[in-house]
Symmetry: C2
Subunit: 342 residues, 2 copies
C-alpha cells in the first residue's frame, strides 16, 4: 500500500502498515481456511449469505471481506463482494489453478516463528534454526513443502518441459535433484513418453514424489535415489539435470561442489537446468526475487538469492563454459541453462 | 507491492507476497532493534560499515537493507544505502519526530499472537482474547501502549489543540477520557496556561500520563480520575471532553452509553471531541482507516471502526443534535466535533 500523504508531505503510514503487515498474512490464511473465495465464486456475495455458508459470524465475515477488498483480493460494490480475476484463478478451490494449498507451507506458524529470530539471523549472517544447514532430511518441513506447493510451480514446470523439447518425444534421461513433489520431472515424463526420470531427495519426500508419479501415470519411467544431493551417487549419462530451487539454500563453495557433481553426471552436450529467484545485480529489483534473500537469511545457515553474475561464475568454476538466463513467464523466477561441452 | 504481470496476465505474486507479509513486520522491527536507520543517518552507508556500527554480520545487514530498500524504507545507489525522507523523519532516533518506539506496541509478539486466532475471531464476530472486553485495567497492554505510541499522536494532538483554540489562552476545563499517555490533554495544557485537565484512565496507565505531565511542566493544572470511562464519576461543567481512540473498542450501545455520560458532564455549549479511524461508508476506503476494523475484530469482543453515519446516529441518540467531521492532517484519522446545546 502506498503511503498516503496530505499535500505530498511524508506521513508515518508506511511504517504503521509495515508493523501491521503480519495481519495481511493472517487475513489471507483465515480466508483460505474458511474457504471464503470458493463461497463467493459459488455466488455467495453478501456478508449475511457468506456467514451462513462459512459457518462464521456476519460481522466477522464483513470485516474480513472488507479487509480482503482493501488488499486487492476482492472487489466490493454496493455491499456485494466479487472475486477479482486473480482470486478466481488462484484462490477459488473450484479453479484448476487454485493455489490455496500454499497456505500449508507459506505463512504457517512454523514459517513465522523462524522470523521471530530475524534479529539474531542478521547478527549471525544466517539462521538460528537448527535445520538451517539443509544437509539433513527434516522430513516434516519438506513433506509439507512438497504437499503444499505443487500448484505454484506449474508455470515453471511447463516452461522447463518446453526448454527440454519434451513434446518432440525423443528418448531422454533426466535427473531431478531435490525433486520434492517431483512435479518438474513428472511434467517432462507426461509430455514425453520416452523420457526416463531419476528423482533424488530424502526418503520421506520421495514418497510424495512417487505418489505424484503414480497419480500422473509415469511410474514405469520413474526411479528414485535417496539421500543428499551433495553426497549420494548421482549416476551418469544424463541428457538433463534439473536443479530447481536448490542452490539458494547453500553458500557459494557448496553450490560449486554440487554443480561439479552435476557436470560429471551429464553426458557430453547435456544441460543443467537451474530454476531460481535471481535478483538483478543491484539486489533490490525485481521485488519478489530480491526479497527472497531475506527468506534464505532467516531459514538457512548460508543460503542467499544469487545474482546472474554470481551463478555464471560458480557454474564456470564447476566446468560449464557458459550459462544463459531466461525469465519464467508469469512467475518471479528465472531458468539458467548451462551446457556441458560436447 | 503491486502484482507483477507478464503481458498483463494475472499472476500469483500478490498471494505469495501476502502469505509472506509477516516478514515486512519482522524486518522493520529488526531494523529498529539494530538501529540501522540511525546508523545510516549518521553516515554509515555500506553493508560493511553498517555491520561494524550495529554489531551485526555484513551479509545479514546487506540482506536486511536490501529488503528495506525494496519496501521503500531506504534508497540504494551503487551499493550505498540512504534514508528516504520518511525514514529520516520517522525512523532515525536523532529526529524529533522519530516513531521507532511504536515497535514497542505494534507488531510485537503479543500483537501477532492475537492474530493467530483470527479465524476464531471471524467465526465469533469478536476476539477470543481474554482482555477483549476492555472493561478491565489490563495494565501490561495499556502501559506498553502509553509508553510506545506518544510520537505517533503528535499531529492529532496539535490538531485538537488548534480546534480548542488553546492558543487564545482562555480558561477551559478539559476532561481527557481514556487518557493513556495523556498527551492529548497535556498538549492543550502546554499551549494554554489557563487550561485545566482532568485525565481519566486505569491507575497504572495514569502513572505514565502523570510522568508526561511532569515532563511537560503542567502538573499544577493536571488531575486524575481512576477507573472505567463507563463507570467512574466523570465530574461536570467541562468545556471540552476528549474521546481519543476509545469508541472503536466497544459495540454501539456501549458507545452511546459513554456518549450520554459525556453529554451530562459537559457544560451547555461544551464540545465532545472524538478522534477515530473513520472509514468511508463503503468500509473499504481509505485503506488504513478501513483496515482498522480487522484490528478491532481480533483485539476486542465487540469493537469496530465505525463510519461517520454510524457515529452521527450514536451521538444523536446520546443527546448531540449534530456532529461534524474533519480529517487530521498527515494522519489516517478524523476528528468528530459534537456540541451540546447551549
Amino acid at each position: 500500500m502506498a503511503t498516503a500523504t496530505t499535500a505530498g508531505r511524508p506521513t508515518p503510514e508506511r511504517i504503521f502498515n509495515a508493523l501491521n503487515a503480519f495481519q495481511q498474512t493472517a487475513a489471507l490464511r483465515t480466508a483460505i481456511e474458511l474457504d471464503v473465495f470458493t463461497a463467493i465464486g459459488a455466488g455467495a456475495n453478501t456478508a449475511a449469505v457468506l456467514a451462513t455458508k462459512t459457518g462464521a459470524s456476519e460481522k466477522g465475515v464483513r470485516i474480513l471481506c472488507d479487509y480482503l477488498t482493501i488488499q486487492g483480493f476482492l472487489a466490493k460494490e454496493q455491499g456485494r463482494y466479487a472475486l477479482t480475476q486473480e482470486s478466481a484463478i488462484f484462490l477459488d478451490r473450484k479453479s484448476p489453478a487454485c493455489l490455496a494449498s500454499m497456505a500449508g507451507f507459506l505463512g504457517t506458524e512454523r514459517a513465522r516463528s523462524i522470523f521471530d529470530s530475524l534479529t539474531l539471523a542478521v547478527r549471525n549472517g544466517g539462521s538460528v534454526w537448527s535445520e538451517g544447514d539443509n544437509t539433513k532430511p527434516n522430513d516434516e518441513f519438506w513433506v509439507a513443502f512438497a504437499k503444499s506447493m505443487v500448484p505454484l510451480i506449474v508455470p515453471a514446470a511447463e516452461f522447463i518441459a518446453r526448454l527440454l523439447h519434451a513434446d518432440d518425444g525423443k528418448p531422454m534421461k533426466v535427473l531431478d535433484i531435490a525433486a520434492g513433489h517431483g512435479m518438474y520431472g513428472i511434467t517432462v515424463a507426461r509430455k514425453n513418453s520416452k523420457a526416463e526420470i531419476v528423482a533424488l531427495d530424502w526418503p520421506a519426500v520421495l514418497q510424495v514424489a512417487q505418489d505424484n508419479a503414480r497419480k500422473f501415470g509415469v511410474t514405469d519411467r520413474y526411479s528414485v535415489r535417496e539421500g543428499s544431493a551433495l553426497e549420494t551417487e548421482l549416476g551418469s549419462g544424463y541428457d538433463y539435470v534439473l536443479l530447481t530451487n536448490i542452490f539458494h539454500h547453500f553458500d557459494m563453495p557448496t553450490c560449486e561442489k554440487l554443480m561439479r557433481r552435476v557436470h560429471s553426471a551429464l553426458k557430453p552436450g547435456g544441460k543443467a537446468i537451474t530454476l531460481e529467484f535471481v535478483p538483478n545485480e543491484d539486489r533490490v529489483t525485481p521485488p519478489t526475487a530480491a526479497s527472497f534473500s531475506l527468506i534464505m537469511l532467516a531459514n538457512t545457515d548460508a543460503g542467499d538469492a544469487y545474482t546472474f553474475s554470481e551463478y555464471e561464475k560458480m557454474f564456470r568454476n564447476a566446468g560449464f563454459a557458459s550459462t544463459s538466463l531466461q525469465p519464467v513467464p508469469d512467475m518471479p523466477q528465472h531458468v539458467l541453462v548451462s551446457e556441458k561441452s560436447a
